[in-house]
Amino acid sequence: MAARRRTQLLTNKTCKQMTDLVLDYLNDKLAPTTKRDFQRHLRICPDCVNFLNTYKKTVAVTGSVAIDEIPQTVRNNILTFLRKRIHRLGTYPLIVITHFISPSGILDTFLTRCIDFIHPHV
């Protein structure tokens, strides 16, 4: 209890306010006076030091998640899909028309699927 009173006297930031400032503190975006208050609070509050360490650890662990490489088969599938659709834009004038009149692409997707059904190897 005495320690808590001493904390209140030595800092003008509560632990709750400290938590709200953590993100800007780590990005070095706090105003100089706020940053000074933040660091003053850290000097006397082990709870907030521990909180800060675990917050930083969480960010570090999140950032260390392995990069998901694009598999070669996926890359090839997408390129094949794109080439096929572009080819169809040139082959089927109706798709070109719907391509321009349908902002959402629903019509040309529908027509492409119809062509897929009729000429699966084109």
């Binding site: 632990c15 709750k16 969480t58």
Partner: protein
């Protein structure tokens, strides 16, 4: 022709597509250590590629695909978690980029536009698939007494315990599960910020949010992830 130099528009126009694509891949791979979207000005050849894309040039689309597919796939996969969904999203992104190239504003960066298309497509897919999988954050956020002190004291520093108790792969598995419980927009923000290295401002532009909204969501999401990790270790999430 050295594969180490940067790729120019001339390369795509004069050499075979396969060779140009290989050069683009080498170039893209050499840039993978850089945080996403760090270049403030588009490279000259990128401007040319956009112009050619607007003119319906298939080779320009393929060149852009080789430049950005790796990074965009990574974002999509981190948001969606499956190869099939990520493939579908990236396929739609590049097809949309080809169809809508004329709507692309020259004052924006191509990468920003592509990231926006990717995140929006991934968010749409995620929203459709995980309506009831989200967890209420409140249980895992820090709680305080009326006077502003931590409710549960002492607050334990478990940052070293995490590494001692779990192998890297297990920690990443724990985190992946926690990430999947975030709201779709929050998950996208965490992915773009903590995994892709984007600034709050870049994320705001990409997602069409205010910087303030990005910061609030990012902070709450991180607090939730922190709470989940703490709970996993047997400590108070608060």
């Amino acid at each position: 022709m050295s594969p180490c130099r940067s790729i120019t528009d001339h390369d795509y126009a004069t050499v075979g597509l396969r060779a140009a694509a290989q050069l683009a891949t080498v170039s893209a791979l050499s840039n993978t250590t850089e945080p996403a979207m760090r270049k403030r000005n588009p490279a000259p050849h990128e401007t040319d590629l956009v112009e050619r894309l607007k003119a319906g040039d298939e080779l320009a689309l393929e060149a852009i695909f080789h430049l950005y597919s790796k990074r965009l796939y990574s974002v999509a996969h981190r948001i969606l978690g499956t190869v099939a969904d990520s493939e579908e999203v990236i396929q739609d992104v590049f097809w949309t980029a080809f169809r809508k190239a004329k709507s692309f504003q020259g004052n924006a960066q191509l990468s920003t536009w592509l990231y926006r298309l990717t995140v929006n497509a991934a968010l749409g897919k995620l929203r459709r698939s995980k309506k009831d999988k989200e967890v209420d954050y409140e249980e895992y956020l820090p709680k305080f007494q009326e006077d502003g002190h931590h409710l549960v004291r002492p607050v334990v520093d478990w940052s070293d315990t995490l590494d001692e108790k779990y192998a890297t792969r297990e920690v990443q598995q724990l985190l992946a599960e926690a990430l999947n419980q975030l709201k779709p927009v929050d998950k996208s923000i965490v992915v773009l910020s903590d995994l892709e290295g984007m600034s709050d401002k870049e994320i705001a532009v990409t997602l069409g949010l205010t910087v303030s909204a990005v910061k609030t969501r990012l902070h709450r999401a991180r607090l939730f992830l922190r709470g989940k990790l703490a709970a996993q270790l047997g400590y108070s999430a608060t």
